[in-house]
């Protein structure tokens, strides 16, 4: 049977890649949509029965308690699903939108609408027609990671709201869009502030930050930037769009440590889309996580093999890095390494002989290790490297 393709036989026993004895899973695509659009004064509707909202606001959204945003659940019922009743979703969205007047409406479906084959894009069109508010549907189904959902959400928002005409920057100072800031990768907002300050210290001006903090207000003028710095893989789609539409070059990197920061500065000045940092081959250090973050750590310490369970991340990996299939495979592969850098929850599958260096990632362990999230921007990165003494 076809399903046999996704199993391995180890010592006569079937190992199922989808089975996790103990590990957590990453934030899903639906939460990714809401996280990316949280501060943009819209209305996000997760089209789901129940559960997605509490998962999102408990484990995926650290702003929920203090910063208001319109993130709601449709509450689809069994009968609506079976009878294909789309009118309730449409009417509920229209009613709330008329009461609350969001700037846009984003729909993020979950497994059941996906299974039912609901035409979510047509539903979005109908809501837009009835409210006169820009409405878009994201192709989510709760079975992909936050990178998939957030990157699509930012792209759809960009297509609607980014001004279409490119203005020439008459200043000599280059304007930069920072793309990919969400609490899922940068839960501690101070890290985003450090990145902003680092770019400013390079002598550049920040045009906008996608999509956290006060500089989100200028996202619609992203067309005016000279360069895009992509700081998470969820920013890649929109960076490609801005390049295609406005010819803005982009670099995927994070200013962790002085060397990387200097190279980013040079790349921006020259309009280069790559930075070259020599890293040692055959490393005994494993780095687990999102690929942009992990790559910046690898560059900072000068070596490492990246392991990721994020399928949507694959295109940013280099040849030595590994797209992992599941918990058991990752556990077996990590046996070959002396050091592992990753979210503390990965400790559960790492042998006690291995030196584990904690790098909490909100999109993996949620709020559990939020207080221990480390800022590696600029000199902080160098200090951390000295401290861990690899």
């Amino acid at each position: 049977m076809f399903h046999q393709l996704f199993k391995l036989k180890v010592g006569g026993v079937i190992v199922v890649n989808e089975a996790n004895k103990i590990l957590s899973v990453y934030t899903s695509d639906t939460s990714g949509v809401c996280s990316a659009l949280y501060e943009l004064d819209g209305m996000c509707v997760m089209h789901d029965a129940s559960g997605c909202n509490s998962t999102y606001n408990t484990h995926d959204e650290p702003r929920w308690y203090d910063i208001p945003s319109r993130v709601y659940l449709s509450g689809i019922s069994e009968y609506e699903a079976i009878l294909g009743d789309e009118s309730k979703l449409i009417n509920d969205c229209v009613k709330t939108a008329k009461e609350q007047k969001p700037k846009f409406i984003a729909l993020a479906p979950t497994p059941i609408p996906y299974m039912m084959g609901q035409d979510i894009k047509a539903i979005a069109k109908e809501i837009q027609r009835k409210t006169d508010i820009s409405t878009f549907a994201i192709e989510t189904n709760g079975m992909n990671s936050y990178i998939s959902g957030a990157s699509q959400a930012l792209l759809e928002w960009a297509k609607i709201f980014v001004n279409k005409e490119k203005k020439l920057n008459k200043n000599k100072v280059k304007k930069i869009n920072i793309i990919g800031a969400t609490p899922l990768d940068f839960c501690n907002y101070e890290i985003v502030v450090s990145i902003i300050n680092s770019i400013k210290d390079m002598g550049f001006e920040i045009n906008s930050v996608w999509s956290m903090g006060p500089l989100t207000k200028n996202m619609k003028n992203s067309n005016n930037a000279d360069f895009n710095l992509v700081i998470s893989s969820l920013g890649l789609k929109v960076a490609k769009y801005l390049k295609q539409e406005f010819d803005i070059p982009y670099l995927v990197a994070l200013p962790f440590g002085k060397e990387q920061t200097d190279k980013i500065k040079k790349a921006i000045l020259n309009g280069n889309e790559n930075i070259d940092i020599d890293t040692k081959a055959n490393s005994k250090i494993a780095i687990i996580g999102e690929s942009v973050y992990s790559k910046a750590i690898k560059n900072l310490i000068g070596e490492g093999i990246i392991f990721t369970l994020l399928g949507d991340d694959e295109k940013l990996l280099s040849r030595d890095d590994v797209l992992e299939k599941g918990e058991e495979s990752l556990k077996n592969n990590l046996k070959n390494y002396s050091y592992v850098i990753g979210d503390p929850l990965f400790k559960h599958i790492v042998s006690k002989d291995v030196n584990f260096i904690e790098m909490p990632h909100f999109a993996f362990s949620g709020r559990m290790y939020k207080k221990n999230i480390i800022n590696l921007v600029n000199n902080n990165g160098d200090l951390w490297r000295e401290e861990i003494n690899l």
Partner: protein, 443 residues
Amino acid sequence: MIDLHNIDYSTSSNKISNLDFDNLFPAGLVYAPPARGVWNIVHIGFLMPESHEIFVCAEGCIRGVVLTAHEAGFESRFSTVVIQERNVIDGDMEYQIIDGVSDVLNRLEKKPKAVEVYTSCIHYFCGCDLDFVYRKLREKFPHIYFSDCYMTPITRKSGITPDEKMRRQLYSLINDENKDVSDNSITMVANVYALDETSDFRQILKKANVNYRDITLSKTWQDYQDLGKSKCFAYTNLAAEKACKTLSSRLEKKSYYYPICYRKEDIRKNNKQLCELVNLKSFDTEVIENEIDILIEEVKVLLKDFSIVLDYTATARVLNLTRFFIELGLNVKKVYLDSVNNSDREDFIYLKENCENLILSSPTHPAARFLHNKENSSEKILAIGQKCAYFEGTSNFVNLVEGNSYCGFDGLKKLLIDIIDAINNKKDVSSIIQVKGWGCNCG
């Protein structure tokens, strides 16, 4: 950022006199406030001693439950099988469960006595043959008991709710052979906290020489099996009714409802009925009732300048508690709830007739999203329940979750002491209400 000045909050609330018992607020988009003390199906499942939970669902659904387990410290009793797009398309759901669960069990160093396998909405909709799945699993692992559990929120409006179903399935592995045993005990069914030893219920049982059993006190598989030996099964909360009645019916024993309540006459009535059940002539409550009267006077003085707000997560009898306060002459401002359960029907009718200005407010209405930021007045508010503490922005807060372990006059006395404490000592609401499954330390 959202402009909070032009939001119409009024649509989430209404006077009780304008509302119908069966349909308080029309269903619409749903908001979820960040109050998380109520136990979910993961916490409840862990009450089964020596068990292991395995959830089979999509990544988005797993995220919440796996982190629930990790946060509660039960990660070693929790595993998952992630449904991916290819599984939905291939139609290999049955084998994915069988192989995934088998793989997890093969990897566990110590095999559990029982496995609670949670299937999801996807299985329900694709017509997954769960009978086949469990038959195969039982064949492969003959020494492990399997319980079919469900995370199917899509069915929450069509009969038994997922919460009720979970409470019911928690007892599904109690052996049928217990039909033939009937010792002098009563088992409390499907509550999340054991009733206090000093509670009226347990004191009455003690006085009548009847033993008290409770899954929350069960430490071993044998303790769990012994729950079935009692002569009677009781419940205090309507969410446990189906669990209790199913178990009673299966083991051919009596089921008994001792509803949590707060009004003195209701408590007396409950105690009288319980005494009749266990053949106790009387249960003297004069001393504790006098103590309660003294506490009530103190509460009345302390609450002179306060309004009281309550929400449905504090207790299954939130309108009975509201009525208790109103009959004392206290100022109840608002009750947050989306629906009223049948045990509170009489109290709803009373309040509608006698307290027409009482506001009922939907905690899940989209407009409720902005209440927390709106409420920052100097008004003195006592909140009973986590959700209303958040909405009202008050630190004078009683952290009552599903009634806590309180019951009878003893429970009322404890609640009054908590109220006095809440008025005198402000609480850090944010750090308390964001803890998931308050008091879940059954591992």
